[in-house]
């Protein structure tokens, strides 16, 4: 099970099996100490913008796309529009920004894998056709 870790220099919080060797925020080495949910929630606070409208969701997808050398957001603007509407419908109805082309199972662990962007690299459609299941993300050399 993943654990919570806190950088003792800058209070960066990390959820993972082991602490990062280098803090991605302040650059300190071997700076993470085991934390817990109460401490982590206190550090994170509640003053973060919600991704609760289509422009914000699309901006998050664009950031994800821009940082990748292998995948990018599809050029099909109408599909980006429809899918961003869909993930927000699912946020409202099901509690998370789930892929509108999948379906929840009721098993929390499995359903967390449906949050967009999902781990689409493992999907047959990505391997064979260069697209994630819903077509939102494509290989950089595809389309």
């Amino acid at each position: 099970m993943k654990k919570l870790w806190r950088c003792h220099v800058c209070n960066d919080v990390h959820l993972g099996n082991k602490p990062p060797e280098v803090c991605p925020t302040c650059g300190a080495k071997n700076a993470f100490v085991l934390s817990d949910l109460g401490e982590a929630l206190d550090i994170i606070g509640k003053d973060h913008a919600s991704l609760d409208d289509q422009a914000k969701v699309q901006a998050a997808w664009k950031q994800f796309s821009d940082q990748s050398s292998t995948v990018r957001l599809t050029d099909k603007a109408e599909e980006v529009e429809l899918l961003s509407k869909g993930v927000l419908e699912n946020l409202k109805g099901k509690g998370q920004r789930y892929c509108p082309c999948r379906i929840t199972t009721g098993d929390r662990g499995k359903d967390l894998n449906l949050i967009c962007p999902c781990n689409f690299i493992r999907q047959p459609t990505f391997k064979e056709e260069g697209e994630c299941w819903c077509g939102l993300f494509v290989k950089r050399d595809a389309q």
Partner: protein, 94 residues
């Protein structure tokens, strides 16, 4: 599952489902066979039915449940994903 329905599980905000709608319309017009269209993100009963068929549908979808998916109650066969007219006809006729 027993029954005689040909079911199309779809999602209201799924682009592939939207693109497939005219193909299904054409299929119905050409064959006279009607599909039962069940939306799964805005109708929990439809979602439950789809989940109950996961053992058949998920493998057809590459391992996880997804839409668009088609389930033939007579043959117990499912197809999923980017479907064309030929695949649809083959699935419907068993």
């Amino acid at each position: 599952m027993s029954g005689t329905r040909l079911i199309w599980f779809h999602g209201k905000e799924c682009p592939h489902c939207r693109k497939l709608a005219p193909v299904v319309d054409q299929f119905e017009a050409e064959t006279g066979i009607k599909l039962e269209r069940l939306e799964v993100w805005h109708n929990e009963e439809n979602a439950k039915l789809m989940r109950s068929l996961a053992d058949t549908i998920a493998p057809a979808c590459g391992g996880d449940l997804g839409v668009p998916a088609f389930y033939n109650e007579v043959t117990g066969k499912a197809i999923c994903g980017r479907i064309d007219m030929a695949k649809l006809v083959a699935w419907a006729k068993g």
